[in-house]
Amino acid sequence: MGQALCKQLSYIAALLRANGKAHYTEWKRPLLLSAFMVFQNFLFFLLWVVFFGAVRQVKGWQLEDVALMFGLGATTIGLALFMADGARTIALAVQDGSIESFLAKPRHPLPALLLSRSNAASLGDIVSGPLWWVFFAHVTPWQFWGLLGLSVIAAVIFLASLVMFFSLAFWVQRAEPLSYKLFEILITMTMVPQNVQPMGLKLAMFSVLPAGFMVFLPITLLRDFSWPVLAVLLGATVVYSSLAVWVFNVGVRRYIGVNRLY
């Protein structure tokens, strides 16, 4: 089992290297896209600067807290899309049949599908997070490294959610626009203060749209570390990842079964 795991990890590493090389060969483009991404993030953050300039605080949350949330959301999303933007191609691949080139391979199709595309502009999101943490949230060095680690965990949950959203295409025809909307909704929910939300929305944030696990719990951990909360976060990561793989596998079986009929 250990050997199988090592083989899988080296396969994933090879795919990541291939994506890295693709960005490196035309490095100016990723750099320019990333710079624009950082700038647009800054423009959007200015909305909150304006808001807290007038309002000062909302249920104890101030601009520094929103900067923490914003940076965490940006780095999380950036990590997921830079590494595995192929998640957003699942629906299209199912629709046009190009998923069959992944199904024909001896290995599980999901890693290759996820790593088939890397979003260069997401580098800007990855960079935005640390910038916001340092310049607007004024985190300590320990908190900085803690946030980076928490971003990786949150990125796994985000990626798992994307796999489930875009796997809707296995059951629903022309599901891509709906999947994209769910993706955008999840991003929106990570960019809004979550402590002020009504119970219904909080329930959604800790279930079908796990923005609460991506942002709220990590910030809670950062403020007031506790092992039970960390266990909940890690448990959620395992649950969402397993669920994503299961949903994808069921979808693939359905796809193969339906195609056999024709």
């Binding site: 423009l43 909305l47 300039g53 909302v58 599901a175 709906l178 909307k181 002020v196 219904g200």
Partner: protein, 267 residues
């Protein structure tokens, strides 16, 4: 004669866009879901704004929710995918087919997109209004405010759609339109007052933004939900009218530049 012909083509394209948008039911559902989530999430934020702060800026929680409801409604009626569609057609040389037509490409495009805008407007209006009514706990703006807001929506939509056209065409010079779109969109959010009215902005910034076209898209129609003075709100129509004319000239010139670029250098 040319103007009549152009309007005729615009209308025909609008009818096509109308039919196309009617077929995209899942997309409409997705739009409403996202709209609902945004409104619910930010209504949660507004409810926790201290009462003295609201009073100091002459706004209410219900007014803020209604304001956001209108600005988001304008954005959701005009799909952001339009600029990508423009870019995709240019990069795949599909645009050549449009350039062969006797009518300028921008007239056909804006017509098509206006038809789609109309579908989203009519389909989403009632559920969005119902959601705003629910979140404001039944507080209804005055008839005058609603009429004033509705009167501002068509030009707001036209300015938005024209902007998408120009952003999409920018890929001819920038290789990729996404960066231009990101910056334009976030500038619209910030300077157009997407999330909160300009009353919450610092005084100087609240005045300077009116030098840009962005308030005519969002703040001008939505301001009817929070504004008490009618005169500045009516002046918003003048702002919209001015920028609509500017935009139409810019769109026509962009179309001409696109044609020359493609003829001289290809897509």
């Amino acid at each position: 004669m040319r103007a009549r012909h152009g309007l005729g083509v615009f209308g025909a394209a609008a009818r096509l866009g109308f039919k196309q948008a009617c077929a995209e039911r899942l997309s409409l559902l997705g739009n409403f879901l996202m709209y609902a989530v945004i409104l619910l999430a930010y209504a949660g934020v507004f409810r926790w704004i201290p009462a003295d702060v609201l009073a100091a800026h002459h706004v209410t929680v219900e007014g803020l929710i209604a304001y956001l409801g209108v600005t988001e409604f304008v954005l959701f009626c005009a799909a952001t995918a339009h600029y990508k569609e423009m870019q995709s057609d240019i990069l795949s040389d599909q645009i050549h087919l449009e350039l062969l037509r006797p009518c300028p490409a921008w007239v056909v495009r804006l017509g098509d997109w206006s038809g789609q805008y109309a579908v989203r407007f009519f389909v989403l209006f009632v559920p969005c209004a119902a959601l705003i009514f629910f979140l404001t706990e039944g507080v209804v703006p005055s008839v005058g405010a609603v009429v004033g807001m509705l009167a501002g929506l068509p030009l707001a939509g036209l300015i938005l759609l024209g902007s998408y056209f120009m952003v999409g065409v920018s890929c001819l010079w920038l290789k990729q339109a996404e960066p231009a779109f990101w910056v334009w969109q976030k500038a619209l959010f910030l300077l157009g007052g997407l999330l909160w009215p300009l009353a919450l902005y610092p005084d100087l910034l609240a005045r300077l933004v009116w030098l840009t076209p962005f308030p005519s898209v969002l703040a001008a129609p939505a301001g009817w939900m929070v504004g008490a003075d009618v005169l500045p709100l009516v002046a918003g129509y003048l702002h919209q009218g001015f920028w609509t004319l500017v935009l139409l000239v810019l769109v026509a010139k962009t179309n001409g530049a696109m044609l020359r670029r493609i003829q001289n250098e290809g897509a």
